[in-house]
């Protein structure tokens, strides 16, 4: 069906969101049309004509009950339909994966850190890229989101993914891209004069393309491009994983 101006979706849960989106398009669209048509009909039928007297009525209980109950039902159903997607995307623990990247936002960059060979963060062989992220397609990716200064927002339109990065917390998000390509990663939360233009690129590779890229760029040989930024990262280092449960940062 038509995409209603939505950008192409290339993530697994993006479909769920789009489906809801279209459902609401229909609900609200039909409601709007009903309301406007009725209104116009009334305006034409009942415009002031000499000699006609307005109908003298103070309301109609059955009617009022109907148009209270029907929207309530629609909305309740809509709520129930929204729950699964929400719990899949944000509430439940993300699907297990061994692919973890740490994204630390700062005015006005995305610092993307890979654990390196040992698979641990905070060790010498970490690699930090600036405004650039490489992931394999069809693989669940865990993003450990942090911020050094103000609130930023990790937004990937084609993934239908958005999550604020809050200083003093680490928030775990996940996505699974289904189509190799190069996707823009804008910052969606006002974070200062550089907010506009704070963006990175997510490169989604096929499995073996990714292996090639990793071999060339994530091996200990290649020197960390943005090592300076990793120092500045220290303050948030000791934050316990508050996951997405919004727990307070302990220190």
């Amino acid at each position: 069906m038509l995409d209603w101006w939505l950008p192409e979706n290339v993530s697994t849960y993006g479909r769920d969101i789009d489906r809801l989106f279209h459902l609401i398009y229909w609900i609200t669209g039909i409601t709007a049309i009903l309301v406007f048509v009725t209104m116009l009909v009334f305006l034409v039928m009942y415009k002031d004509r000499p000699g006609r007297r307005a109908r003298y009525t103070h309301g109609n209980t059955t009617l009022e009950i109907v148009w209270t109950v029907v929207p309530s039902l629609i909305l309740v159903i809509l709520t129930f339909l929204s729950v699964p997607a929400w719990s899949r995307i944000k509430m439940q623990a993300p699907p297990p994966s061994d692919f973890v990247v740490q994204v630390t936002a700062k005015q006005f960059n995305w610092q993307v850190t890979y654990p390196g060979a040992d698979g641990k963060f905070g060790t010498a062989d970490d690699k930090t890229l600036l405004d650039e992220m490489h992931v394999p397609a069809n693989k669940v990716v865990h993003v450990h989101l942090r911020s050094q200064d103000v609130i930023h927002s990790f937004f990937v339109p084609q993934f239908r993914m958005k999550q604020d990065a809050v200083p003093g917390r680490e928030i775990v998000q996940w996505f699974e891209a289904t189509k190799p390509g190069k996707y823009e990663l804008p910052c969606a939360e006002l974070c200062g004069f550089g907010h506009s233009g704070m963006k990175g690129w997510i490169h989604v590779h096929t499995a073996d393309d990714y292996r090639k890229w990793a071999a060339e760029n994530l091996t200990a040989a290649a020197d960390p491009p943005a090592a300076g930024d990793k120092k500045a990262e220290e303050p948030t280092r000791d934050t316990t994983v508050a996951a997405t449960t919004g727990g307070q940062a302990k220190r």
Binding site: Q248, A249, K250, R251
Partner: protein
């Protein structure tokens, strides 16, 4: 210019809310259809307005206290290590001082009902005195704490402490000024047989700032 306060229509005004509560409104009440009759408000304007004013004040402090609790509960250690402890005992006594001032205020109101001007003035004076004493002790404590190195900028601990207690102190100060003015008017014989609205409003507000304190004391000092 003296505030022109227009009361509800004739027959409505009662001697200011003393004695038996007025009958519930008729006509103007919610009984449609019945012949309109003059309404009698349940509460006179001033007391009603004070009620809503306190409602707003409550929301203001609710904002502060809940914010404090959020930070307090998030902190692993409270008070944080190497930070001076708050003087719980001394402040406890100070709390009693403030509570007594409320008693004095009640007595003052009783004196007014007894048409006893001297008593009214004396007891209002006592109220103000106790309030001032409370502030003085608080001020002394602050001086001590600052001296021990607890400042506004020493983390959430200092920040919340000084903000909450400071803002309450500011309210006490305001109430104190109000009592002062009221006292002056009382000394000139207002309220005794004239309308006592302003006096009552002042009393209500005083009781409010006093009642607020134990809450803050428990939240900030004890909890």
């Amino acid at each position: 210019m003296s505030p022109v306060v227009l009361e509800a229509p004739p027959l409505v005004r009662r001697a200011n809310g003393r004695g038996v509560p007025p009958r519930p409104p008729t006509g103007g009440g919610d009984d449609d259809g019945r012949e309109p009759a003059p309404r009698r408000p349940r509460l006179d304007n001033v007391r009603l307005a004070m009620m809503f004013f306190l409602g707003a004040e409550t929301m203001f402090f609710a904002g502060l206290v809940s914010a404090f609790l959020v930070l307090r509960l998030a902190a692993p250690l409270w008070p944080p290590p190497l930070q001076p402890r708050l003087p719980v005992a001394a402040t406890g006594l100070n709390t009693l001082v403030l509570l007594t001032s409320s008693v004095a205020m009640i007595a003052a109101m009783r004196a007014r009902r007894g048409r006893n001007r001297a008593g009214l003035v004396r007891r209002l004076g006592l109220t103000a005195l106790l309030g001032a004493l409370f502030l003085a002790v608080q001020g002394y404590e602050w001086a001590q704490l600052l001296h021990y190195g607890l400042t506004l900028s020493s983390g959430a601990y200092g920040a919340t402490f000084y903000t909450l207690i400071g803002i309450h102190a500011a309210h006490v100060l305001g109430a104190l000024a109000w009592v002062g003015v009221t006292l002056g008017l009382a000394a000139r014989g207002r309220f005794l047989d004239g309308p006592a609205g302003p006096l009552r409003a002042c009393a209500i507000y005083w009781h409010f700032v006093v009642a607020l304190w134990p809450v803050l004391y428990v939240a900030v000092y004890l909890a």
